[in-house]
């Protein structure tokens, strides 16, 4: 950690970022509306992408201080620690 780059005070962040957050939430709402309005909307219910979006919205409602990291992991493929590592040629 670098004490010179402390996070800005919470009320100030809220003040500065409120309109941006509002705008981005509206974008997500409009994307979901667009999907609902389109033809064959029933097909997307089987698509994992929709459930990922819904899961991500649940993360936003939680109290974690690492929501961005949690959402990144939600949208990530699983890692298998037993994969076959290639052998270095010394």
């Amino acid at each position: 950690m670098d004490p010179r780059v402390k996070a800005v005070a919470a009320p100030k962040v809220l003040e500065q970022s409120f309109l941006e957050a509002r705008s981005k939430l509206l974008d997500i709402a409009a994307i979901l509306d667009r999907i609902t309005r389109g033809d064959a909307a029933e097909l997307v219910h089987q698509d994992v992408k929709i459930s990922r979006i819904i899961e991500a919205l649940k993360i936003l409602q939680g109290s974690s201080a690492h929501k961005a990291e949690q959402i990144q992991k939600l949208f990530s493929l699983p890692y298998d620690a037993n994969w076959e590592i290639p052998t270095p040629r010394y």
């Binding site: 670098d2 010179r4 402390k6 996070a7 800005v8 990530s76 699983p78 620690a81 290639p86 270095p88």
Partner: protein, 275 residues
């Protein structure tokens, strides 16, 4: 403020971009070898590409007082073709002693396949033999976390690797600590939609600090911003972070990492300043 863009593909950018970057304070850039947007037909196509990286771009950059450095490899996407990759890796030593070459990069993974991992290791074998710095591309989107874990596994499995001579690039919230906690340098890429925004990059800096971390635009043939590093500078200023901390991330850190290369040359601006 003087800054370095440690990862940008100027071959895909117009001369006006050099001009505007210089106007914004850019004094040096490094350009890793990457995917051209299409798979090249032969190793000879890479010979021409490497010639461009070591001869043409340094001259174009110098017109604007910018030092141009490059990294050589076959990128992770074309590394799926193992025999082509071996031909290209065999050709790299011909170019390694050119005055602007910093090391081997951007090697890495794309879809995290066995072939990509094989060629990643063979690049590391070359870097170990020739004692070169290594610049690493981590995969995009859903492949990033798994790919970064696999890359760290390979780096730790190779006892010749010195972490302070390796930079893991395109880190985001879920991968930054994999790089830093294992002693590697890391780069955050400020790129629309698929990578970091300047605001999220500054959030990451607030969370992990300013040691061994840098920021780049990865400007290329896609929709991208060659002035993304100045955007990060503005975002840090907007939050009231001191100039010394900003300068560490956008100038001193890449300088410290690059100065480990035998072929690093100080930016023109620094040489002139000391006259």
């Amino acid at each position: 403020m003087q800054y370095i863009d440690p990862h940008i593909h100027m071959i895909s950018r117009v001369t006006d971009d050099y001009h505007r970057m210089a106007q914004c304070g850019c004094v040096a850039i490094s350009e890793p070898a990457f995917w051209a947007g299409f798979d090249r037909g032969s190793a000879e196509g890479f010979r021409d590409y490497f010639h461009h990286l070591v001869e043409v771009e340094p001259k174009r950059a110098a017109l604007f007082g910018i030092r141009h450095f490059s990294w050589l490899c076959i990128n992770a996407k074309e590394a799926e073709n193992v025999s082509l990759s071996r031909d290209v890796i065999a050709m790299i030593p011909e170019f390694l002693q050119r005055p602007n070459v910093l090391g081997i990069g951007e090697i890495g993974l794309n879809k995290n396949t066995k072939n990509e991992a094989t060629i990643f290791q063979e690049h590391m074998d070359l870097a170990a033999k020739t004692d070169e710095l290594i610049l690493i591309h981590t995969p995009h989107l859903e492949d990033k976390y798994k790919g970064t874990r696999m890359i760290v596994d390979m780096l730790k499995n190779d006892t010749r690797v010195k972490p302070h001579r390796v930079c893991i690039d395109h880190v985001e919230e879920h991968t930054v600590k994999l790089a830093l906690d294992n002693g590697f340098w890391c780069g955050m890429t400020l790129y629309p939609t698929t990578k970091c925004t300047p605001a999220r990059a500054v959030d990451i800096i607030e969370m992990v600090g300013t040691e061994k971390i840098m920021a780049n635009s990865a400007g290329d043939w896609g929709k991208s911003d060659p002035l993304a590093v100045p955007e990060l500078i503005l975002e840090m200023r907007r939050r009231g972070h001191p100039e010394t901390a900003i300068q560490k991330v956008v100038f001193e850190n890449p300088l410290e990492f690059f100065r480990q290369s035998a072929r690093w040359q100080e930016p023109f601006a620094l040489l002139n300043f000391s006259k």
